[in-house]
């Protein structure tokens, strides 16, 4: 049986693009007195269980999933982390 890996994927709006959600959170933090907050950006965090032979295989499958569906190549960047489940 193939081992299961836990793949964590972080999808973020591309740095060059306006992130109104991040701005709104930033304003709210300032309103609460957290004046030390600089830039805020809001993205998505996905956790998948992937069955694969090796961690590298799990990573390459997860990258294919990001490229096809989980991230939009026009507006988002992603990073992933593979751990033994």
């Amino acid at each position: 049986m193939m081992p299961a890996y836990r793949v964590e994927i972080r999808v973020m709006p591309r740095a060059s693009l306006l992130d109104p959600q991040g701005q709104a959170v930033n304003h709210a933090l300032h309103a609460l007195g957290f004046a030390d907050v600089g830039d805020v950006r809001v993205g998505k965090h996905l956790v998948l269980q992937v069955n694969a032979k090796t961690p590298d295989d799990a990573a390459s499958r997860a990258r294919a999933m990001c490229d096809r569906l989980l991230a939009n190549p026009v507006t988002e960047d992603y990073e992933l982390l593979v751990e033994t489940a």
Partner: protein, 239 residues
């Protein structure tokens, strides 16, 4: 009379208005379910507005993998007219049939109100019955309407006259260069954020949207005389 397929996804909610607007313009319009793999000999395909798959992940991201999208893509690649309205525009971008993407409105609020848009090109199957530069009042109803594309793509769209509609007066969602609609390089695939089907009869507040549907019937007449489709799909302009 053109055969117009209105595709329904789970979460589409402008499908009935779109069907009515197409029929009122004289088309033989009918529904196609998103799980169908056949467009039933459609001349034109319309992806209506709504919230397909609850906008999960990103608007249009899951709908683009619906079984019907393979036939829609084949139809588009063969030069067949395809119109995406609102969520339909988002789906066409996600499917790679139109460049760019639609992101969260700059002001974060969901916008549901009339806006002014200018018709920037008549050289598409859905705008040929307008006058160039004409300003229309059409409603928008979207949370993710901010059109974004990289600089090169935007410059290309402008240079090739592929911006179809542009917001005038104010830019409600922060779209790049006020873009409210674009077309493909072949000009047969068009995506617009405003809802022409909601302004297609005087009884619902105006008729500025009706000519989107009359255009495709007029384009049909022209195609028959020239049989343009047979020579590659890109008809040389009706302006």
């Amino acid at each position: 009379m053109r055969r117009v397929a209105v595709v329904r996804f789970p979460g589409s909610n402008c499908d009935a208005d779109t069907l009515d607007a197409a029929r009122d313009a004289g088309s033989d319009a009918y529904y196609v379910w998103h799980r169908d793999v056949d467009l039933n000999q459609a001349d034109v395909v319309i992806l209506p507005g709504g919230f397909s798959y609850g906008d999960y992940l990103r608007s249009g991201a899951i709908a683009r993998f619906s079984p019907v999208m393979e036939a829609v893509t084949a139809h588009a690649r063969a030069g067949g007219p395809v119109l995406g309205i609102c969520n339909g525009f988002q789906i066409l971008c996600e499917a790679g049939l139109l460049p760019g993407a639609l992101m969260r409105n700059a002001g974060l609020r969901f916008l549901s109100r009339p806006v002014q848009v200018r018709v920037e090109t008549l050289d598409t199957p859905f705008t040929s019955a307008y006058r160039r530069g004409e300003t229309l009042v059409l409603p928008v109803a979207h949370g993710d309407g901010r059109y974004v594309a990289d600089e090169r793509t935007t410059a290309e769209l402008e240079a090739e006259g592929r911006v179809v509609l542009r917001y005038v007066g104010d830019n409600p969602n922060g779209s790049t260069q006020g873009i409210a609609g674009v077309c493909s390089a072949g000009r047969n695939v068009v995506g617009i954020m405003p809802h022409p089907e909601r302004r297609a009869a005087a009884a619902v507040g105006g008729t500025d949207g009706a000519r989107v549907f009359f255009s495709l019937e007029a384009a049909h007449a022209t195609q028959h005389t020239g049989d343009v489709r047979a020579v590659g799909g890109h008809h040389p302009g009706l302006c």
